[in-house]
Amino acid sequence: MSRTPWLLVAAPMALLLVFFVVPNALLLSTSFLKSEAQTLTGELTLENYGFLFSKPIYQWAFARTFIVGASVGLLCVLLGYPLAYFLVRTKSRWKGVLIALSLAPLLASVVVRTYGWYIILNRFGVANDLLLNMGLIHERIAFMPSTGAIIIGLAHALLPYTVLTIMGSLNGINPNLEQAAMSLGASRTRTFFHVVLPLSLPGIAGGFILAFSIAISAYATPAILGGPATQVMATAIYGFMTQLLDWSIGAALAVVLIVSSVLLLYAASRIGAKQAAI
């Protein structure tokens, strides 16, 4: 232990205190204040939370947010695991290119990538055109706005994170363990299910929770592929803050979102999933 190197840390810490801690603290306090006619009164209240938890429309928004989050996490793991396993084990000379290709989507904004799904899924979109041309359907189907479309769009947006997390845990498995299993007579498939898969469970859990926690606070995808009937917490917060201008309730919603994310990340750390560190 040495003296705190204030010279080095003062400026970035001051920035984080003023523009990260204070805004979040402000939200927390606003959520307990009563607001009337769009201005805050000094009165302490739990009404904002009561309002949110008693109205069916917001109960549904909470439920939908978590259903979307869990489905996105699941889909990301189901699609991401085979890809991660392939990328770690392949001997192809294109390995580097394939890895770059699987991470490249992260360079595009979620808005842009979700727009691709909008082009595919809207009523006059690519999917409807193709199905009509093939004679599989006779009337246009409304794939969106829907919760399913939101789930697909978000899974698409978050898949690279899951792949990266699972690759990290697969890379950490000692190859000797697999060789030992196979030299003892286990087949490749048996080795995978009894050795590799169990050892990569922390990576799976980590990838699931990472996708889950990002998905529940995503705004753009639910805004583009969903509608008024498929509100999630993020779109509801946006509505309260910019259209309904009820900041107290918006703040209460934001606090619920923070608590959910923190709980998820805490769960991840308990499971032993790798966390960011410095």
Binding site: T4, L26, L83, P105, L107, A108, S109, I119, A223, V262
Partner: protein, 267 residues
């Protein structure tokens, strides 16, 4: 069919899922009609012409400026912080690590809402727009920059610094002539990650815009309310290509890959 062949089939499907929507977006931007026909019919550059009009170029340039400023400022702040966290053990260090990673853990959407309230209540309403966006982006980019610089500091053998010191170099001289040149690629990588993070952000920016000061992502999102427009497809492709080119160039010059995998090393 062997298990490996089956796996390859699944992998092909996953790549189609990942890259398909992006390729379709690019394809329909060359469509002749203003519908999202796919496969495209005819070939036209008219939507690209419209995408290059001031209506779209202005927010694009705005995003570039914002991203550049956010990357430079967050990297400048990240260097001393990463150095302190990686090289010193002091009281409160753990709390500082948590605070530094905070913007990565808490939803950016919430930070955006909080900043909106802060600027309003503090009577700084006129700073909502570029200034507020810049502040917010520096906050959310900082963890990326700190982490990347910290990784390169950890891979640097401390012996080098001891050697320089034992040969009589002062602390600052060691820092400037030994440490800095060796972690330069880490600093560049941190700045690139910060830029990309800022350039692609929408969750935070959403709340801090004002007319005329709108990042391209928020602009596209607002435009989507009016439904499909091939111009938007062309704009999307442009905003997708810019960071891609940047990353490809930097990767050629200094190498970024190490830092993506660097996250694995627990530092």
């Amino acid at each position: 069919m062997s298990p490996w062949a089956a796996l390859r089939g699944v992998v092909v499907f996953v790549y189609v899922f990942m890259l398909g929507p992006i390729l379709i977006t690019a394809a329909v931007s060359f469509n002749e009609s203003n519908r999202s026909q796919f496969p495209p019919r005819g070939f036209s550059l008219q939507w690209w012409g419209r995408a290059l009009s001031p209506e779209w170029i202005d927010p694009l340039v705005f995003s570039l400026k914002l991203g550049l400023a956010a990357a430079v400022i967050s990297t400048l702040l990240a260097m001393p912080l990463a150095f302190a966290l990686a090289r010193h053990r002091f009281r409160g260090r753990d709390a500082m690590v948590a605070l530094t990673l905070g913007p990565l853990m808490l939803p950016a959407l919430v930070t955006g809402v909080g900043l909106l309230q802060l600027f309003q209540y503090a009577g700084l309403r006129e700073y909502i727009g570029f200034t507020a966006l810049l502040v917010g982006h520096v906050v959310i980019c900082l963890p990326f920059a700190v982490r990347t610089v910290a990784i390169s500091l950890h891979t640097l053998p401390p012996n080098l610094e001891l050697a320089a010191a034992s040969l009589g170099a002062s602390r600052w001289r060691t820092l400037w002539h030994v440490v800095f040149p060796l972690i330069k690629s880490g600093i560049v990588a941190g700045a690139v990650f910060a830029f990309v993070h800022s350039f692609t952000d929408v969750n935070l920016s959403l709340f801090l815009v004002r007319p005329g000061e709108v990042p391209i992502t928020v602009k596209i999102l607002g435009f989507l309310e009016f439904g499909f427009a091939p111009t938007l497809a062309a704009v999307s492709v442009i905003t997708l290509l810019l960071p891609l080119v940047l990353v490809a160039v930097v990767e050629r010059l200094t190498g970024l890959g190490d830092f993506i995998y660097g996250e694995r090393e627990r530092v």
